[in-house]
Symmetry: C2
């Protein structure tokens, strides 16, 4: 029997009170599409880490998982501000540097410019021909969901960031965008849809 492709599950989901249950749900969905999900929280941190710092142990475990994984699905839903969780964005970068496919979703359909505008006064500077925030720093206006490096990293791979509409109170638990990424992955790796439909 052929072994299943492994999928690293990046996202701020690990910070949720029900992080373990969300991880199990994602792994179940992965299995339905023929993949094996690798969830960072699986790295149950040992109580006894000897002389090493616990954050160093977690870092090395996550890096090892990314090196092992065949591809990744990243949750880029805005987190504590107008942009995605920086831990997840770092991992998107690592995987891009490693040349591994990454599929990604955001449970917010607004552009970066729209979200910055909600958080702070934004004005158009006709001399610089750009929108600026309250510190005079340019705000990108390319219609992207986040910083252009993020959107373009995904677009360059041929599968753009999935912007999934969902109620605000469900934004860290709705898995519709995640499943859209699984469909992108199944198509990319030429794996059929799950038996149960979708």
């Amino acid at each position: 029997m052929q072994s299943r492709l492994t999928c690293y599950l990046a996202g701020p989901d690990v910070f949720l009170p029900d992080a373990i249950e969300i991880g199990r749900s994602k792994k179940r969905l992965c299995a339905q599409y023929g993949f094996e999900g690798l969830y960072p929280f699986d790295n149950q941190v040992p109580v006894e880490t000897g002389d090493e710092r616990i954050d160093g142990v977690i870092y090395r475990a996550n890096m090892a998982m990314m090196h092992t994984a065949d591809f990744a699905i990243a949750n880029l839903t805005p987190f504590r501000g107008p942009s995605a969780d920086v831990g997840t964005v770092f991992e998107l970068g690592v995987l891009t540097g490693l040349g591994k496919p990454v599929f990604a979703y955001s449970n917010d359909t607004d552009t970066l410019l729209e979200r910055v505008r909600e958080a702070t006064p934004v004005t158009f500077d006709p001399l610089r021909k750009t929108w600026c925030d309250d510190l005079g720093m340019a705000v990108e206006d390319h219609g992207n969901a986040d910083n252009l490096m993020i959107d373009m990293a995904l677009a360059a791979q041929g599968h753009p960031l999935v912007r999934h509409p969902c109620p605000p109170e469900q934004r860290f638990r709705d898995l519709g965008g995640f499943e859209a990424c699984l469909r992108q992955a199944a198509e990319t790796f030429s794996i059929g849809a799950p038996a149960g439909g979708a």
Copy 2:
């Protein structure tokens, strides 16, 4: 004559009104330490990009520059929230995935927990044994400047994130932390201090 090592200059500096001048200052400092600075803004975007999107052109130019660079210095000063600019963090990840040395600084000396606490109510959950934000999402408490993946990526290379104190109004222009990274780089690559001291 031996060619100089090239240093990719990552940071939200490109969004400043005086982005070009800041870039020139950083390149001058690089030269004083024997390095050649590569500033993303150098990628003067052509007015005529044919059918290609301008954000795609910028993405490819920055990626090419990172592949060319021998190492990088990243400005991880908090940007529009408690964490660093996601574009810079993505690039830190790419360079880590490529196995290139990265030195980094933040012009803020607080911990991530301290900054999240300033922005939103944070409470300690004794059952989960973690601090939580207003959405119940865990806030890391490792004493790091940002998400542990960021701090540990730098610590793993043997040169921890430089936390440089500076007045708030100078946080996007002060180059003291940047120069501390140049000293780290000069030591790492066994290049002497600049003739003028420092």
